[in-house]
């Protein structure tokens, strides 16, 4: 049995779980390539045009593997935390994909409520049944998948750079180098280190979020807001860069919440969409880094004109 796992959306974060679970069930795993021009083009072709870029790209990933596998996994992630949801587009993801891409194979579209192990296991039971009838095997695969996920550390924290920025945004924008045009490498080249949200403890994020007048409805808002505001106060960084997909409804709220706290603190928003011309992105990053350099010179009381 060939199981197709598209490398889009939260695959970048949860691939250890998905990969382990299905391979423990003796399925052959087919993953798509890293995002590339063809995947982007296919995604734009099949997806409804109002959707955001990451959703379009997910369509492209599915389309690139649909003919190579028997079942495609479309993770309909609804919840990662209690009383929070992740994004309305994730809820309708399977419907969008199945109705827009022709000749789709079977798909696993069971909703994922990952607020605790028991609830997530419900998904595993349904998903596992499509491949194996052995309940014990599914349970074992699930436990091993949980362990694999638990032992897997994501996140970036560069050392040894003089200037550092907190890189915030939805994980698939941060970890997809095609979408963000290698922003991390570009920053490193300009002499700027990067730190991501995985390096702020959950407790700290929780504390920041508590100071909001209302608990955020979306987990992305919680994480991005909590991390950004906390990083600004605690981590030894010089500025914040937020990568946001054009058209993202959640970010339209998140960014305003962050701006309310950053005030004069250097904060750059990079909007990503289908563009592949890099001049616009380069200009913004370079100008931002110039600004950080000059600011840090002034803060150290050295003349800005050398």
């Amino acid at each position: 049995m060939k199981i197709g796992i598209p490398k889009g959306l939260l695959y970048c974060k949860y691939y250890p779980f998905l990969q382990t679970f299905f391979s423990e069930l003796d399925a052959e795993i087919i993953t798509s390539d890293d995002t590339n021009k063809k995947i982007l083009d296919e995604g734009v072709k099949y997806c409804v045009d109002e959707a955001c870029l990451p959703i379009k790209i997910f369509h492209g990933h599915v389309s690139s593997i649909k003919d190579k596998c028997d079942i495609v996994v479309i993770p309909r992630i609804i919840q990662l935390r209690k009383r929070e949801y992740i994004c309305p587009k994730f809820c309708g993801l399977p419907e969008m994909v199945l109705n827009n891409i022709p000749n789709m194979p079977d798909a696993i579209i069971e909703p994922i409520y990952a607020t605790n192990k028991i609830k997530l296991f419900n998904w595993a039971t349904v998903a596992g049944k499509t491949i194996s009838k052995d309940k014990f095997k599914i349970k074992k695969a699930f436990n091993n998948a949980m362990n694999a996920q638990h032992n897997h550390k994501t996140g970036i924290k560069d050392e040894s750079y003089e200037l550092n920025v907190a890189l915030s945004g939805h994980p698939y924008n941060i970890y997809d180098n095609y979408v963000n045009m290698n922003v991390i490498r570009k920053l490193n080249k300009l002499g700027v280190g990067v730190v991501t949200e995985e390096y702020v403890e959950d407790k700290m994020i929780e504390n920041e979020v508590k100071s909001l007048y209302k608990k955020p409805f979306w987990t992305f808002t919680r994480n991005n807001y909590g991390f950004t505001v906390n990083a600004m106060k605690r981590l030894n960084i010089n500025g914040i860069i937020y990568i946001s997909s054009f058209n993202c409804g959640i970010d339209s709220v998140t960014i305003e919440l962050i701006k309310d706290k950053t005030k004069d603190y250097p904060f750059l928003i990079l909007k990503v969409d289908e563009h592949t011309g890099e001049a616009g992105l380069d200009t913004r990053i370079e100008a931002f880094v110039d600004m950080l350099e000059r600011r840090s010179l002034v803060e150290n009381n050295i003349s800005s004109h050398g």
Binding site: G280, M291, V298
Partner: protein
Amino acid sequence: MYYLGVDVGSVSTDLVLLDKKMNVIEKIYLRTRGKPINAIQDGFRLLKSKYDGIEINAVGATGSGRQIASTLIGADAVKNEITAHAIASLEVNKDVRTIIEIGGQDSKIIIIRNGIVCDFAMNTVCAAGTGSFLDRQAERLDIPIEEFGEYALKASTSVRIAGRCAVFAESDMIHKQSLGYNDSEIIRGLCDALVRNYINNIGKGKEIVPKVFFQGGVAANIGMKNAFEQALGFEMFIPEHYNMMGAIGVAIIAKEIVEKKGNTNFKGLNLAESKFITKSFDCEGCTNQCEVVKITENNSTIGYFGDRCGKWCNKLIIPSKKLLA
């Protein structure tokens, strides 16, 4: 002793020649028309006809076409437009605190405090509210862009036009035209819409305090200046060389860099006579399939652009891009 600044933008390519004291002794404004190489060559031809044999000590390139320009001319400084604009404005007046710059496809706000850039913002992915849009509408109304501003001043009232999106603005304009509003009222409405869009979008959350410099090609439009002043409630200053500020800024940066490193990479004014050919191809090296552009000068390859991995663009030794502040 002269310094040259080249700003290759989406709409115009600007060249300035500065003397030792940073006075502008020559400025050349050309339409890029999507062909940056031709525009640069035309500019150099003009420079050569007037200043053949002068000693140019430093050259800088800026604008969205700065990489290509740098490859062609051998620039000492390759700097983004924001820094270049800020440097040029500070050279004109140390007290400038806000720069409003509207160019062909970019609009920017630069906040300066105590002589350094402390914040900036640019338009996001869309070119609504920039020079290209005004250009396009002028063309549609069959009014030369140079007279656009004057038309706006003739109107006693302004027609409200949606300013968020260029496409919506255009359909709004067409509807208003069909209702019989005259050109000048519509143009004034358009200026107001752009200003509204600018202040609510790019200028959002930014403290716009005097002294404000208004620069970039759109600053030539008196209608836009008026609309801004009405919205802000105070006067804006348009520097003498408002449409050359990027080029001036980068010439100054180039001068500083050459003073530190001691020599220039400048290839000379003869560039106009060279034959440049660009060719693009899809790299098949990996699944990224980058569109790579190759530039040749008189049959020898001088540069590659567009690859993500550096396989092509690192092939030729390009002088360090990391520049001094």
